[in-house]
């Protein structure tokens, strides 16, 4: 079997006799000879084209040291390994496994350049108003995907998905209550989401119809963006959510009613205790095969990518096409 460095592992520093690696929230350091060997085999570990034997052959004299280093990396799960295809993962084990990756992936959302533009006051009015409209469409989209999820649910998950729909389907109205302070209700209701926002909603719709647990695991990632403690959910390492909204209203005073709605929604979500819903769900499921774990994790990873796309859309689409709100076409509009 070919050996590679885990794709989620990031080599933060490579220096003489010192290497630092980050993997899923943990930091690892190699010193001395181990660091030097690691630096030497790093290109091979990135490509993942060689087996243990081929790597040791390539390094030459220090075969035993290479084997020792790879064993050490393996113990800390830093290099690819094989999994017993017949192995099973309990629901609670899966919950922990999924959560570990989600925490890591959240950073990709929080480091999106759009947040910084808002904090610095360099975002345009179209981007700011567009952000409010897209958040509304995304939350209103819960009506679609949570409904589809409940309607296509497995027996075990139906009570969870039904409850979630009943608690969430009106949340778009909270965002709308902010927007109608600035725009007529009909305008808000008839406005159209960006393609990237439709991508997020449609992705959830399709997942909801296919696999209840995969859908909910992906949804859990979205929930984490709302429910994380303030210290954890910093939009970057120093900027917690409340301070982000304070900056937003400072630079864009007209957003006060919009931000009020955002905060009301976040608080309501936190009161509903949705942060525990996925754990409760995982406790109820039968142990998962590795193939099931693979499918569910890939769905969550895809959701991360589509959420990044959602942010890209607000950032780049409104920069190039600053039309807000986005109204439907008519026979005379084009």
């Amino acid at each position: 079997m070919n050996i590679s460095l885990k794709r989620s592992a990031k080599v933060r520093e490579v220096a003489s006799e010192h290497v630092a690696i980050d993997y899923l929230g943990f930091s690892y350091e190699l010193k001395g000879n181990a660091a030097n060997i690691f630096s030497k085999i790093l290109p091979v570990l990135h490509s993942g084209n060689l087996s243990l034997q081929e790597i040791t052959d390539q390094v030459g004299s220090a075969k035993d040291d290479v084997k020792k280093l790879l064993r050490l990396l393996g113990v800390h799960d830093l290099i690819s390994g094989s999994r017993d295809p017949d192995a099973r993962m309990s629901g609670v084990e899966f919950y922990e496994y999924h959560r570990k990756f989600c925490h890591h992936w959240l950073k990709e959302i929080y480091s999106h350049p759009f947040w910084d533009k808002v904090v610095q006051g360099t975002a345009t009015d179209a981007q700011i108003l567009g952000f409010a409209f897209e958040k509304y469409h995304y939350i209103e989209g819960a009506h679609e995907h949570m409904g589809i999820a409940a309607a296509n649910s497995t027996k075990e998950l139906m009570p969870h998905l039904a409850k979630h729909f009943c608690e969430e389907y009106t949340h778009g109205d909270i965002y709308r209550s902010g927007l109608v302070q600035l725009f007529d209700n009909d305008v808000v209701l008839n406005s159209q989401p960006l393609p990237s926002t439709r991508a997020l909603i449609n992705f959830l719709n399709e997942s909801a119809a296919k696999n209840s647990l995969a859908y909910y695991a992906a949804n859990e990632f979205l929930q984490m963006t709302e429910n994380e403690d303030e210290d954890d959910s910093a939009l970057n390492s120093t900027e917690p959510v409340s301070s982000f909204y304070a900056k937003m209203t400072e630079h864009y005073p007209y957003t006060v009613p919009l931000v009020d709605a955002f905060i009301r929604h976040t608080k309501l979500d936190q009161q509903l205790g949705h942060e525990n819903a996925f754990f409760e769900m995982c406790k109820d499921i039968s142990p998962l095969t590795m193939s099931e774990v693979h499918n569910i994790m890939d769905t969550t990873r895809s959701l991360v990518d589509v959420l990044k796309l959602f942010m890209d859309g607000i950032d780049v689409f409104y920069e190039h096409f600053p039309e807000v709100p986005r109204m439907p076409s008519t026979l005379l509009s084009e």
Binding site: S80, H320, L331, L332, E334
Partner: protein, 328 residues
Amino acid sequence: MTGVLQQGLRFKRHYDVRPEDDGHYSVQFSGQVATLSRKTWDAYKDITAKAYLKDASSDKTNTVKSGLLTLLGQNGLTYRVEDIPAAVTGIDFHDKYFESFLKAWLYKAFSHKFWDLMMKGEGSSRLYAGWLFELYHYTKNANRHMPLAAATCSNKAVKSLFAKHYREEWNHFHFFERALRAMDFSKEDILNSKPLPMTMEMSNFMREAARRDSVAYAICSAVLEGTTVDRNSFNPFYEAVKEHYGVPREAVQPIYDHLDLDVKYQHSNLFREICEEFGEINAQHASLILSYGHQMAEHIWMWTDNIWNYYSKSNNSLPNKPFDICRD
């Protein structure tokens, strides 16, 4: 109801603006160009940006703007809601409305910097390969929406046209597979690759349209087919990638073969045949259909941006790969 809207006025959608040497601005609408002075252009930008805001409804604001609105109206940049036809025939819908809008929509769809930079030699063979991968998935994903459109259609004649279209298209992904093989990607690389999120959305949006309304689905398909009929617009792109990035001829020829086949099947005429089946399309239905068409053009722009954004970063995997329990 806000100021401008209160007067029953709406702004036409503009697609491009160019400052001219004489200080005027050429504003491109579908089928017409308006020439505005700088002052009028600035006022136009301001009034359109605020058109839907509630605080634009004060009487004072309306008075100030009434002269400008008259001027814009004279230049054909506004229209009255009461002038929207209550209904049009299917053929008129196609010939008088869709045909004249399509050019502007495609202009918007292909206005992304990707095309210009690739043509100028500021792209890369990596970007071309990434673009091929996404086209491969997009074409393969026709199997996710074309049969669904046929399955959900309630009009027998249209259902048959959808079915025939699917029969002719379902396996066309092999053209892109051939092109990728010519760029040294293995069969395994191609089969195990994962589409970018916006590539998935192209087919998800078509699935959404198919479930909602057959003509809305058909117009999305027509916008996409509209990208394949004009050899003069796409040939220079493929010739440029061969010249600038050393892309082998074998990685381009299958694309030409695919486009030729589309022309042979006359897929670009399909939407007209579908529209012919409808004696009348009312204003509300027309709005729904046109909104899908316009959004499809915007989808193409966003899809291009997603491809550009992902594949221009050398640390992103090419091809894009799914989560792997052993390797992540």
